[in-house]
């Protein structure tokens, strides 16, 4: 009884989650199609005559304080915020995971050095390190991405290392050695599959955090520079007009919330997908 009930709840939860995922994916997709078919604005085209217009067919979400089309900027902002966020993340994973696997598998001096570096990075909050680094390198999206990369690779290296540490003592790794596999092959064939799930879960949670980081640093002027259509920067630009046109802040804010939530759900989904034991029922 209890087991059957638990099974039902989890199916229900899964269905709800799939529905939410589809909805959230469908919404920006529809917007993108709409933008492609209907809108054809230059996101940076200033037109002071059209400033702070309310929504209309020509401008579905209205215009901002410089008369630029808000929907166009929001959609292009996705490329900036989400696109660059993903880029930074992929780079962090690509550096962190191999280093972590290698350190965990080899152990010894290399492992100790790597982990001390990681500890040093982890002892400061992400935001602080990112602010300091962009401060040093100069404001701008590229430098911000570099800062994010520097901050984020550490957690992937640690995750990979700890997973490898728990797995490498198991008999199947020993058998792989006895079967003549080279260390590189043991790492890629036998250890890497144990990481994919963990890494994707952490990564999808991290995308949200990175998007928030890009947006907040752009908001305080350290990230994307005007007139780039980045959501955080848009929020910042809309701030003086909050009284007159609150929707200017609401739209980019909602975009950020949506994407962060979406990534959280994606993380959940991936965690289930990469657990090969999911179908076992006692």
């Amino acid at each position: 009884m209890e087991l059957a009930l638990a099974g039902n709840t989890s199916t229900l939860r899964k269905r709800l989650r799939t529905a939410a995922l589809l909805f959230m994916l469908a919404w920006p997709a529809a917007a993108a199609v709409y933008a492609f078919l209907v809108l054809n604005y230059d996101p940076s085209l200033v037109s002071l005559a059209d400033r702070l217009l309310p929504p209309s067919f020509a401008h579905p979400l209205g215009t901002d304080h410089l008369g630029r089309d808000v929907l166009t900027r929001l959609l292009l902002g996705a490329r900036q915020t989400v696109g660059y966020g993903l880029l930074a993340l992929i780079a962090a994973v690509a550096i962190g995971v191999p280093l972590g696997i290698w350190a965990g598998f080899k152990g010894g001096l290399a492992d100790r050095i790597l982990m001390r570096i990681a500890d040093a990075f982890l002892s400061f909050p992400d935001t602080i390190v990112a602010i300091v680094l962009t401060g040093l390198l100069g404001a701008g999206l590229e430098n911000l991405l570099l800062a994010i990369l520097v901050v984020k690779w550490v957690s992937y290296a640690r995750l990979a290392r700890s997973t490898v540490l728990t797995e490498r003592g198991k008999d199947y790794v020993l058998m792989a050695r006895i079967n003549g596999l080279r260390p590189g092959r043991i790492m890629s064939k036998h250890l890497f599959p144990h990481l994919i799930g963990h890494v994707l879960v952490l990564a999808s949670l991290d995308v949200g955090k990175i998007i928030l980081l890009i947006s907040s640093l752009s908001y305080i002027g350290l990230g994307a520079q005007p007139p780039a259509p980045e959501w955080g920067a848009m929020l910042n630009e809309a701030r003086p007009y909050f009284q007159a046109q609150p929707s200017l802040m609401v739209y980019p804010g909602l975009m950020i919330v949506f994407v962060v939530l979406l990534m959280g759900l994606l993380g959940d989904y991936w965690r289930d997908k990469f657990d090969v034991r999911k179908e076992v029922r006692p």
Binding site: Y172, L174, M175, R177, I178, N179, G180, P193, V276
Partner: protein, 254 residues
């Protein structure tokens, strides 16, 4: 020339008490040599030394007359195609994230181009995996399953299939039935016995179960506190000149 020969092997851990004490034996081609002892007597350490997982302190290990002790992992690798292993716990010995087929083909993908298989003739990898599973009396459909979908006995058969896949000259069997239930134990022992006949592979059969060792082996060694205290042919087990410890074991299993 013996297939695998151990000469006066010594090993101790940092605590100082010896784990292996002057261990010598020879394993002949196609023979099953049994090794009996209580848990903690050093028999698993001996297995790990023979497999090059641990190094010996003194003495020598010869494979077909060539010393293989103290070799680096890289230098030892060519010998791994001749010396395979089946371990006690099949659930741990199969990677839970890989299908049975992927685990099964590990040695073949490594050494397939260096060995000439006499027993298996196959069209492609999938066909080979199917034949291996059939050789250990498992349904071919298990190839695409994951380890957790198999019973303990089935998993152990799969690890046996992996060990025989490159037709090695020796398989070290380290308590291969200890984690199985009684019915699977008997079935797996029977399978191992038939495979040895068919493929001409020599076994070092390590177990705490004298009855199983006696049934499987042509010669038996008895280990106590890291030393081999008795070494005899199967027929000599009940002889009166057996070591007292051996006689004690015999009394337990009668």
């Amino acid at each position: 020339m013996s297939l695998l020969r151990a000469q006066r092997i010594h090993k101790s851990y940092t605590t100082g008490t010896p784990v292996l004490l002057d261990v010598s034996f020879a394993l002949e081609k196609g023979q099953c040599l049994g090794l009996v002892g209580e848990s903690g007597c050093g028999k698993s350490t001996l297995a790990r030394c023979l497999l090059g997982i641990e190094h010996i302190d003194d003495g020598s290990l010869l494979f077909e007359g060539v010393p293989i002790h103290g070799l680096s992992e890289r230098r030892l690798r060519p010998y791994r195609k001749h010396i395979q292993a089946v371990l006690q716990n099949p659930s741990a010995a199969l990677n839970p994230k890989l299908t049975i087929k992927d685990s099964l083909l590990d040695p073949y993908l490594q050494f397939g181009d260096q060995v000439r298989l006499r027993h298996f003739q196959y069209a492609n990898r999938h066909d080979f995996a199917r034949q291996l599973l059939e050789a250990v009396e498992l349904p071919a459909a298990l190839a695409d399953r994951y380890p957790h979908e198999l019973s303990g006995g089935q998993k152990q058969r799969a690890t046996i299939a992996r060990a025989i896949s490159i037709e090695p000259s020796v398989i070290i069997l380290d308590e291969p039935t200890a984690s199985l239930d009684v019915l699977s134990q008997a079935a797996v022992l029977g399978l191992l016995d038939r495979l040895r006949e068919q493929l001409g592979i020599a076994y070092l059969f390590i177990s705490h179960d004298l009855a199983a060792v006696h049934a499987m082996s042509q010669a038996i060694m008895v280990m106590q506190d890291g030393a081999i205290v008795d070494h005899f042919r199967k027929e000599e087990l009940f002889d009166s000149e057996r070591h007292p410890y051996t006689q004690e074991l015999v009394a337990m299993f009668e």
